[in-house]
Amino acid sequence: MAKVICVHGELVGQRLIAKTGQVIAEVVHVTSEQRPEGPAENAFLLVEIGEVGRNGRYISWINYFDLDYASAKERNSWRLVEPAREYTQSLFWMPFGWPGANRVPTIGDSVLAKEERKVA
């Protein structure tokens, strides 16, 4: 069951619709411990912006390198916010995601894509 919580941290990036530039998600670095109700200190979150509110979940990223990587993989779909900006938002907190959550590019994708092509 998703809980509505208020998350504090820093905004380090945004996910966009490449064609329109519309912001559809935010990448947030959590700067203080908010467990058990919310995320852990130092975690990276993806906060998707929906019509009825924001949904937040953990991603496995650890720093700006991951945003650099995502930007290279999905051109015009990611924007770095650098330096980071203070972030406070209410959101539905579902730490391990929800059905249909969009995955994010993660280091190793190129190697794995090559392996998948070999199998196919």
């Binding site: 130092n42 991603i59 390198f65 995601g97 280091i107 794995l112």
Partner: protein, 223 residues
């Protein structure tokens, strides 16, 4: 292929940045003794220097030694580490530890007046795959080599060290510990079952490299 072809031209006795695997010197967090190389943890409280403590994660630890050496023919070099992990996982590095400091925080190895950090590199992963397969082995299905170069403090670009910087760090020999944490690429609420991890250590200037395998340690009396 260029790196593999170089193997036949470089003599490892003439031009090599020699590094040997060792057992860690320093105990890990919680109940990880110095000899525990692979261990999985559930999410736990935040610990400084810990990258994935809020997620299910697997610790990967080893020590290494640079013996005293001439660095003949080496002007600059970045260090490389690559590890064979499951395709569902990603792995991230801590700095290199040389001792325990206040509050059990690690004291980081410095080369060139800065802490040694690591940046992900898919090229390094590909290099390890080629070197591994050049031994006649096949990468097991469901695994890949995740690779790293030494980096700047931001862990965004490769840092190469000069011969003088390397000499000052290695001196009459350097012994240190390295610690990594693997987690699900897409976080999920599921434990990671510990598994053996093959490591490759190398550099980007010579053809020297070394493979070794870390195995999960089962304490006596566990069953």
């Amino acid at each position: 292929m260029a790196n593999i072809e170089k193997l036949s031209f470089d003599s490892p006795h003439e031009r090599a940045l020699i590094i040997y695997p060792r057992l860690p010197l320093i105990n890990g967090i919680f109940d990880l003794g110095a000899g525990v190389l692979i261990a999985a943890h559930k999410p736990h409280e935040h610990i400084k220097e810990h990258l994935h403590d809020h997620l299910h994660h697997m610790h990967i630890r080893y020590g290494f030694e640079f013996p005293s050496q001439s660095l003949l023919g080496i002007d600059n070099a970045a260090l490389l580490v690559m590890m064979m992990i499951k395709v569902e996982h990603r792995v991230d590095c801590n700095p290199v530890f040389v001792a325990l400091g206040n509050g059990n925080e690690g004291v980081c190895l410095k080369i060139g007046a800065a802490d040694v950090h690591w940046v992900h590199s898919e090229d390094a992963g590909k290099k390890a795959t080629k070197l591994y397969e050049a031994t006649g082995r096949k990468l097991p299905k469901g695994y890949y080599f995740s690779g790293f170069y030494t980096s700047d403090a931001e862990e965004r670009s490769v840092r190469r060290y000069s011969k003088e910087e390397l000499k000052r760090a290695i001196g009459f020999g350097l012994r240190a510990d390295q610690h990594f944490q693997a987690t699900w690429r897409e976080p999920k609420d599921e434990p990671i079952e510990p598994y053996p991890v093959t490591i490759c250590l190398a550099d980007d200037e010579t053809s020297y490299h070394i493979f070794f395998e870390l195995r999960p340690t089962i304490p006596l009396g566990a069953f």
